[in-house]
């Protein structure tokens, strides 16, 4: 597949004999290709990728799953696994052709001159070794330090990445550390060899948003202090926007657009980039219906000759069937689309017939679909066993006591019929436990819960089946919630059968109706889960929930595992279903932009309790609980807003026991003083009807 090259700036030209490491560039990729497997089923994960990174620069690589972005990281580290191999092109790092290196040459490169920080800090540290061991190992190996000198240096590195107690950290095992601390330790380990280039593969994806903000701050600081060059790989455009200067968009293994950061977000030129940006819910934008990118990635074992995006592109024409070279679309900008210049600022339009956006107002007197009052749940603290002597009786008896904590602490919440309430909070705040308590997937310890006006903790309405007919749960991961050995027909028939014979039509007709509702064709009836994409699987998950004809649906991180463009279409689907069927949602997510987009009201949870409830539209205006404020300012956004960002120190606090004052007192940047520790704060009402729990008045917080 040789490209015809004509356009200026085309870097698909046949590769020259000399390593083209250009002046001032630390890394140059020239037509780099990577193939998995061999024979007809082989797959080109990267196809002639050409990129350059100036010394001290930071390049963001954006792509959705299947774009080849993680393959790129592994390729640059020379760590391709299994059947993957470089099958063309070269990567020149500081004048050295990486793929001409001997194993010894690689040994001098990996960890010493190129460092890598991984996606998931939770699994990237060896569970059987102390942090000290994992940090000093490269120091001893690469820098020839003695054990003691290495330990001192490890301590210094931990200090540099912002660990407040490096000595404690050194002797700790990974399981004792929080995600943010782990990621800091991993960054320290990557810096141990004093590399010139740091590759970051989704370094914050697994972290909470306030922790993500801390890590991004750290990366910015490190970049400035150490003159590090960085390649920052992520699916999250907002995160990328924080750290990098240049952005490169990958689609189906090809670079489709490169441009300086500010320009690409303000004025994307490739249709795919436009679609990607349009399908992102944003905190600052009006809450209109999201654009989507219909269709799916081409089959990479047999990719189309021409533009790989053609099947999904609303601007496609005949000429798009020819191979597309990169064309210049401005100074320092290129796009793999012949139409890019002509399209200019033409916005993305999804081919999907857009339903007219309805003005949403939930009647003030709508009956509650869910009313929860003082719901509590205590859990045993893991490993918190204590033996105490019980002297209450005549003879003292030793008793084994388990220390417990309030995972959910007297939470009251109402969701009206037809209303969507968003529930946000960081991991461990108790939001998932609360959700499970609400439909008795977990048995609450106390409180009252009524679904559709019926108390589900007592009496006839309390049995599983009755609850299932009013309330249903959409899970985060469609992969693990669909039985891989059942077809879609079988998956959907089960909950339908539960409804009994009272519904019209044969089983097949009823399954078809469900598929129609989630906008899937009937061809899906006989497919197995593995034959479907993530978005399609989530649609089946939703269809299964709809089979029970519920009135109240809990969506627990229902779109978190999906790519941006797929997420948009699922959000639209959920909104449509709500309007068509009059569903009420409790929409749980860690992603404030998503929650703000879909919800009518938002509840914010911290350490087991709700600290704020208010209309979703108010999330853009001042006057919030300090925790909400911190969450909002931690959300990475495309427009580099907020010179003074509010930062939370420390990690997400554990759900507590016997919180006497304010739940947030341990991390609150606006803490008043001892009063916050000792006295429970009052509920205040701010502008636009936001209610929150704080000793400050709404005016003081808005100012």
């Amino acid at each position: 597949m040789r490209h015809t090259c004509s356009a200026p700036g085309d870097r698909d030209a046949p590769i020259s004999a000399q390593p083209p490491g250009r002046e001032g560039e630390i890394l140059t990729l020239d037509g780099l290709s990577v193939r998995y497997g061999s024979g007809p089923s082989s797959l080109r994960a990267l196809d002639k990728v050409s990129l350059s990174l100036p010394r001290g620069g930071a390049l963001g690589v954006v792509g959705e799953s299947g774009s080849g972005k993680s393959t790129l990281a592994m390729t640059l580290m020379g760590l391709l696994a299994g059947s993957a191999r470089v099958d063309g092109g070269r990567a020149v790092f500081e004048g050295e052709d990486l793929y001409a290196l001997s194993p010894a040459g690689w040994a001098g490169m990996r960890g010493r001159r190129i460092g890598l920080v991984f996606q998931d800090p939770f699994t990237a540290l060896n569970p059987a070794k102390t942090i000290a061991h994992q940090l000093t190992e490269p120091l001893v190996l690469h820098r020839g330090l003695s054990e003691t000198a290495a330990r001192a240096e490890a301590r210094r590195l931990l200090d540099e990445v912002g660990i407040s107690d490096p000595d404690a950290m050194l002797s700790a095992y990974p399981h004792a550390l929080s995600g943010g601390m782990k990621q800091r330790a991993l960054i320290a380990a990557a810096l141990a060899g004093d590399p010139d280039l740091l590759i970051l593969d989704e370094p914050t994806t697994a972290l909470d948003v306030t922790i993500e903000a801390q890590i991004l701050d750290l990366l910015e600081a490190l970049r400035a202090e150490r003159q590090l060059s960085m390649i920052f790989i992520s699916h999250n455009l907002g995160v990328i926007a924080r750290v990098v200067d240049e952005v490169c968009v990958l689609y189906a293994g090809q670079v489709v657009e490169t441009a300086p950061k500010a320009e690409i977000f303000a004025a994307p030129r490739h249709p795919y980039t436009k679609g990607l940006l349009a399908s992102m819910p944003r905190l600052g934008a009006p809450r209109a219906r999201l654009e989507t990118i219909p269709g799916r990635l081409p089959d990479l074992t047999n990719p189309p000759e021409g533009c790989r995006f053609a099947a999904r592109c609303p601007f496609a024409e005949d000429r798009c069937a020819a191979p597309q070279p990169m064309v210049s679309v401005g100074p320092g900008r290129e796009s793999r689309c012949w139409k890019a210049v002509a399209l200019g600022a033409t916005p993305w339009t999804s081919a999907e017939t857009a339903a007219p956006a309805r003005a949403r107002t939930v009647a003030a007197d709508a009956p509650p679909a869910l009313r929860a009052d003082g719901v509590s749940k205590r859990f045993r603290r893991a490993g918190g066993v204590r033996v105490r002597i019980d002297r209450s009786g005549a003879i003292p008896v030793p008793r084994i006591g388990h220390s417990t904590f309030n995972a959910v602490d007297a939470v009251s919440l109402t969701v009206k019929a037809g209303e969507t309430v968003g529930l946000v909070g960081e991991s461990g705040c108790g939001k998932s436990t609360l959700a499970r308590c609400l439909i008795r997937l977990i048995e609450p310890d106390g409180g009252a819960i009524a679904l559709n006006g019926r108390d589900i903790l007592k009496g006839r309405a309390a049995d599983r089946r009755t609850i299932a007919r009013t309330a249903q749960f959409v899970f985060q991961n469609p992969d693990s919630s669909l039985n891989p050995r059942k077809t879609v027909r079988q998956i959907l028939a089960r909950p339908l059968a539960l409804l009994g014979e009272e519904r019209p039509g044969t089983m097949d007709q009823r399954v078809e109706r469900l598929l129609d509702m989630v906008r899937l064709s009937r061809a899906y009836m006989d497919r197995y889960p593995h034959e479907m994409s993530g978005g399609e699987k989530q649609r089946i998950g939703i269809a299964r929930v709809l089979a029970a004809e519920p009135k109240f649906v809990i969506c627990d991180e229902a779109v978190s595992a999906l790519d941006v463009s797929v997420q948009a279409s699922i959000l639209n689907l959920l909104a449509d279903l709500r309007d068509e069927l009059g569903l009420a949602y409790l929409f749980i997510s860690h992603d404030l932009s998503v929650v703000r987009h879909i919800a009518d009201r938002v509840a914010v949870m911290y350490r087991g309790g709700i600290v704020e409830v208010g209309p979703a539209s108010a999330l853009g205006t001042p006057g919030h609980h300090p925790y909400t404020e911190a969450l909002l300012s931690a959300v990475p956004s495309l427009d580099s807003r907020g010179a003074e960002r509010m930062r939370l120190a420390g990690t997400v606090s554990a759900p507590g026991d016997g919180i006497t004052g304010c739940r947030f007192a341990d991390r609150c940047p606006r803490k008043i003083g001892p009063v916050c520790d000792t006295q429970a704060p009052p509920w205040r009402t701010g502008p636009e009807g936001v209610r929150f729990e704080c000793h400050h008045t709404a005016d003081a917080l808005a100012g």
Partner: protein, 319 residues
Amino acid sequence: MLLYFCQRVAYVVGIVLVVSLLIFSITQIMPGNVAYVILGDFAPLEQIHALEEKLGFNDPWYVQYWRWLSQIARLDFGDSLIMERPIGPILWQAVANSAVLAVISIVLVAVIGIWLGVVSAVRHGKASDHVVSIGTYIVLAVPEFFWCIVLIVVFAGSLQWLPATGYTSMDEGFFVWASHLVLPVVALVMGLVAHVSRLTRSSMLEVMQSPYVVAARARGIPEARVIRGHALPNALLPTITVLAIDIGVLMGGMVVVETIFSYPGLGRLLIFGIQQLDLPLIQAAMMVVAVIYALANLLADVLYAFLNPRIRFGKAAHG
């Protein structure tokens, strides 16, 4: 850690008690009345009754059980019905003989099994991996006694390198002693090596794909160190548990192997007891087997905890 240890000990004690109850009840319903075994099939009925009365067989079962258990706990195993001698010395001699066999075997299983597993994982997909895999499948596919016979026919029969059966004490010279051990040990070890190497291979392969191993490589740690220092300690966790379970399998295998090779160990003693319906002997031998097995499991748990910091230091309340 201490709490964990106490929990495990309590668990093991519980298991041994349950097993002792089982052993006791199984022997109670064994065919062939004990009194007949002692007095012969044609003894007069009054004598039988008198003996049963004397042996306490007319007491309720729990009284009998308690009596038996407290005797055993004092390591007083009573007299063998057939040999008419105290069981203790016979049993301990057999245990010692078997222990020689078992210890050599389990050490070999651990060393060879883990080594083969690691080698085939590291050379995943290469010729040596395939050779090991095919070899282990062949060994596992055929039952133990078949390999015993093959070994005897080849090495004792045709080649005449080694004695086919029997046992000599060390006094007759180390090589004579050792030569009697070779075939039983090989027969015992083959299946278990195959088992352990399969398991080590798969857990090693899994660990070598794990992010922390890739991360160690990305830090530029040389591959040999990555395997030894990062992959192996984690990959061995499941292997250790399986080794303990294999001690049980080993003891089962020893019954077969000792019988075929006429090796005077615990397994052969147990078979002898069963053939002769020597009730106290059977009970004693089975209790010893059960206790050894339970202790092996305890050892595995403690070792597992020691290698796994998550248990060693107690799980942090919030990770």
